[in-house]
């Protein structure tokens, strides 16, 4: 994994601090060209990994990258699935079961079970999970996706429920079908590491809010410090600026104190900000000792 990964919140009007800023970004990035301009800038500055939600618009980015394989020879996607609002909004329209039927490419298995009113077998649930993953992955066909992530809303929902086996099913499928490593995004890092241990996902890639302020670090900064020092896993830090509350240098200097943090994912909308983060990172967040 690269030290710096480029995130996509800014392209979709996601801003933890201000609705106004979020809307301004949504307007600015309405056209794909505006998105591609920023991605090109990042790529040309040496940031080659795009960690992105499986939003419909990312399919358009994927298409551009696929079409210009010379220009984007080193371009890497880290898909994060699913784009949760797509499913959440659909639940309101179709109900829980309706959503599964709508999003499954091959609904034969599910609807047969439903029509028959039979109980679900474990293998049925496994195939529902794998079919949903395949549906989300189809937009990246022919592109490099060495790590595939499960989004935090889904990870944390399953984690809370104790639906542990879903993590193992996801990990197995991503490895076998896509030759990729499974990744997990969470707001509850210490708890998730325990669960992944239990279901046998070894040395996992886990992306989580990690910042000096303790913003969105559930379990507390101390618990995070402990797992970052003691547990075997590959950490990706997000929200390192805590939504702008921590100045870049201070943020990265703090992150550098944890050798298990292999990468930082960040979002930016301008060349100046991309270069700013890259320069601070190359000064403070150098290659891990190990």
């Amino acid at each position: 994994m690269d030290r710096l990964l480029f995130g996509d919140n800014q392209f979709f009007g996601v801003n933890h601090m201000s609705e106004e800023r979020a809307r301004a970004q949504a307007m600015r990035f309405q056209n794909l060209d505006a998105v591609m301009n920023v991605l090109d800038t990042a790529y040309d500055e040496g940031i080659r990994t795009f960690m992105c939600t499986t939003h419909d618009r990312i399919a358009e980015v994927a298409q551009r990258v696929r079409k210009d394989s010379d220009r984007y020879a080193d371009f890497v996607f880290y898909p994060c699935m699913p784009y949760a609002h797509k499913y959440a909004n659909a639940v309101t329209d179709y109900g829980m079961l309706g959503v599964l039927k709508k999003f499954l490419p091959d609904e034969s298995l599910l609807s047969a079970t439903l029509r028959g009113g039979k109980a679900f077998a474990r293998k049925d649930i496994e195939s529902v999970i794998t079919m949903l993953v395949d549906a989300e992955m189809s937009m990246f066909e022919g592109l490099r996706t060495p790590v595939v992530f499960l989004q935090n809303v889904v990870v944390d929902l399953l984690l809370g429920l104790g639906f542990d086996e879903a993590f193992a099913v996801f990990a197995r499928h991503v490895e076998q079908r896509y030759g990729a490593e499974p990744g997990f995004i969470t707001m509850n890092l210490p708890r998730l590491l325990d669960t992944l241990d239990r279901v046998g996902v070894a040395n996992p890639i886990v992306c989580s809010s990690i910042n000096k302020l303790g913003f969105r670090m559930c379990g507390g900064v101390e618990a995070y410090r402990t797992v970052l020092e003691e547990r075997e896993f590959r950490a990706i830090a997000m929200s390192v600026y805590a939504s702008g509350a921590i100045p870049p240098r201070e943020a990265f200097e703090w992150i550098s104190g944890f050798p298990r943090i292999q990468s930082v994912v960040f979002g930016a909308s301008s060349g100046a900000n991309i270069r700013g983060t890259r320069d601070v990172a190359s000064a403070t967040f150098t290659s891990p000792a190990a």
Partner: protein, 383 residues
């Protein structure tokens, strides 16, 4: 340690179940739903105890509290039944579909001494709570007006296959969306004395409304409600309240609390005259487990601790109680009634207030016209 059950395993129910199962003071969580499919899958993979029959669960499962997240129509009988079994209740919003039923439940809860709470999660959003604190400090003086808005992308085409598209079951933008800003208004300004000008319009829905506009009247203030759940220019539900007072203005949403204070205002600690912005990221307290927003964890944490008798010193004895939710339900009911009242036509006779109304409308119009002509003539002469 408390023993709980979540009833209704839909979008909210699943999220509540997930959060509660990780709470350190929760000993066990059972689940109850009419759909065998959901219980079957969850039961198999999570080992949670499940019931398809709510009454059987209340009889058989030892419970300290239930969390009810069924379609709104089912709230009243379920809540009543839980109270009769001596079980504390957290109920999703709105409490019921009738003000009388909500007041009846509030009264039942009061007499039983049980803990009750309604899922108006915005009151647990740090930015909205900061606005409440500022109002109590009198930072913006006397509130003269409030604008309460909620927009989002829920119904974007004509289709109503779930209960949310049917008013009789508690669907529609009024119950589902407008209830949130209305509850915040209740929190900030108390109960309105009257409502007027209610519009329940539809954009896509056939069986219910997609937009709600109304005026609410308070003894010393007025408020405008503007709600539309068929607006996909908002990525997700967005609720915003603007409070205009004699000494300043507050505009608050989930993310931030923007405050303008006039020169004459007495600034609360940390605030200055002119503009101030407080971000939720700074104001929010850490939660023990996060699924999709600190407020959902915080509201359930409050319920669990109040059932367990573990409220902290200085913490309010009740938050989002049935009594306050019943006020919001009463306002909702009044809006439905108001929407059916006749409006004032623009064409035709002019209705004027006061004793002059007795005059023949036509002669009144003539009188007004001649007065205007006089005025114009005088103006021309002075020019």
């Amino acid at each position: 340690m408390v023993r709980l059950a979540v009833v209704g395993i839909g979008k909210m129910g699943l999220s509540h179940l997930s959060i509660l199962r990780q709470h350190p003071d929760v000993q066990s969580v059972a689940m109850c739903d009419s759909s065998g499919f959901v219980l079957d899958v969850l039961g198999k993979y999570t080992g949670l105890t499940s019931y398809r029959d709510y009454d059987r669960m209340l009889r058989e499962e030892p419970l300290d509290g239930v969390v009810i997240a069924t379609p709104t129509k089912a709230h009243f009988p379920m809540v009543r039944s839980a109270i009769e079994h001596g079980v504390n209740v957290f109920c999703e919003k709105p409490l019921t579909l009738s003000a009388n039923q909500s007041m009846e439940l509030a009264e039942l809860a009061r007499r039983s001494g049980l803990r009750t709470q309604v899922g108006y999660h915005n009151r647990f959003v740090a930015a909205f709570a900061e606005a409440k604190r500022l109002l109590e400090l009198g930072a913006i003086g006397e509130v003269k007006h409030a604008l309460a808005e909620a927009y989002g992308p829920v119904v974007l085409r004509a289709k109503a296959s779930t209960w949310r598209g049917r008013r009789a079951e508690g669907g529609g933008a009024l119950y589902d969306y407008a209830a949130h800003p209305l509850d915040l208004l209740t929190w900030y300004l108390g109960e309105p004395s009257a409502v007027s000008g209610t519009v329940l319009g539809n954009i896509f829905s056939v069986e219910t409304e997609d937009e709600v506009y109304a005026t609410l009247h308070y003894p010393k203030a007025s408020a405008q409600l503007s709600v539309n759940w068929s607006d996909e220019s908002y990525r997700k539900m967005s609720t915003k309240i603007t409070l205009t007072g004699t000494l300043g203005r507050i505009t608050v949403d989930r993310q931030e609390c923007q405050v303008y204070l006039r020169e004459q205002a007495i600034c609360p600690s940390g605030y200055q005259h002119g503009w101030n912005v407080r971000y939720t990221t700074d104001l929010t307290d850490q939660v023990w487990f996060y699924v999709r927003g600190e407020e959902y964890s915080a509201e359930l944490d409050y319920f669990v601790r109040s059932v367990a008798g573990n409220l902290r010193a200085g913490e309010p004895a009740e938050r989002n109680s049935f009594t306050s939710a019943a006020v919001t339900d009463r306002v909702i009911e009044r809006l439905v009634g108001d929407a059916a009242l006749p409006t004032t036509p623009v064409s035709g006779p002019v209705a004027l207030p006061g004793p002059r109304r007795q005059q023949e409308p036509a002669s009144r119009v003539r009188q007004l016209r001649s007065r205007m002509q006089d005025r114009w003539q005088r103006r021309r002469q002075t020019a």
